[in-house]
Symmetry: C2
Subunit: 150 residues, 2 copies
């Protein structure tokens, strides 16, 4: 299985697509949602909620932090942006054998996935140019069988 998501690079096109998606889902196209989506779509800095809040506040001084958090979460659910890593609290793993994690977005449960005998976890070459890699972390997010049987 490969990742196949692609998205128009142009921000305006993505804003249009965002509106379409909102209407499909029966969500109102509010200025707050637009600006918050734009702030993330325009940035290549992987901004935090706080950073998005500060950015959006430039054009909407009264926007609330709650709205930013709420909107970021719903945009994530809509598949219009992604959260880097896990949300909320930290989880720890004492098993250092190479393996991946499946994280259920419903119940929060973390499952280990040990690769098959002949499977390899490969590291893209460009990573070496950015710095010294000390750890690899591979996560799959989705709904586990307990939460959605069958």
């Amino acid at each position: 299985m490969l990742l196949t998501l692609t998205e128009p690079a142009d921000v305006q096109m993505r804003l249009d697509y965002f509106e379409t998606r909102c209407k499909e889902l029966g969500l109102r196209v509010t200025r707050q949602r637009q600006e918050i989506f734009r702030a993330v779509a325009q940035s290549d800095k992987h901004p935090s909620a706080e950073a998005v809040f500060l950015q959006v506040r430039e054009s909407m001084p009264n926007v609330s932090l709650d709205t930013v958090y709420r909107t970021l979460s719903s945009l994530e659910e809509m598949g219009l942006l992604m959260r880097v890593g896990l949300s909320s609290k930290a989880r720890f793993d004492g098993d250092l054998r190479p393996h991946c994690h499946f994280v259920c977005t419903q119940c929060g449960e973390v499952y280990d996935i040990f690769p098959q005998e002949n499977e390899q976890i490969a590291c893209p070459l460009p990573a070496r140019n950015i710095g010294e890699i000390k750890q690899i972390n591979i996560q799959f997010k989705g709904i586990c069988k307990n939460c959605r049987p069958q």
Copy 2:
């Protein structure tokens, strides 16, 4: 590049190794550190700091939450356990093209890594049995060139 870390499965062996590592690094072998390490090493539940705190408190009723947080972080630095995902606050990415992230553990900066033309991001087969995968998240942790030039 492949992940090559392996660790003795037996908890007692790992505790011994933990002591050795502490001594190598000039860290004191305190009961708190032992119990906190044991709690994570024994568990297959990817416990949170809170969960570790509750577990350790069974045998050490006066252990403090601060000690748990501090110790988990230092155990991570020592390479004796790993943190699932990122620490602290959430970061968002509006670019949905398949790519990985390099996270600098020093400055917190997040760098994009786009795979080479012929590279593939593969998903271990067993993942399919756990649930429906909606997203793949690959992170590399380390020190970026800005923080440790050359």
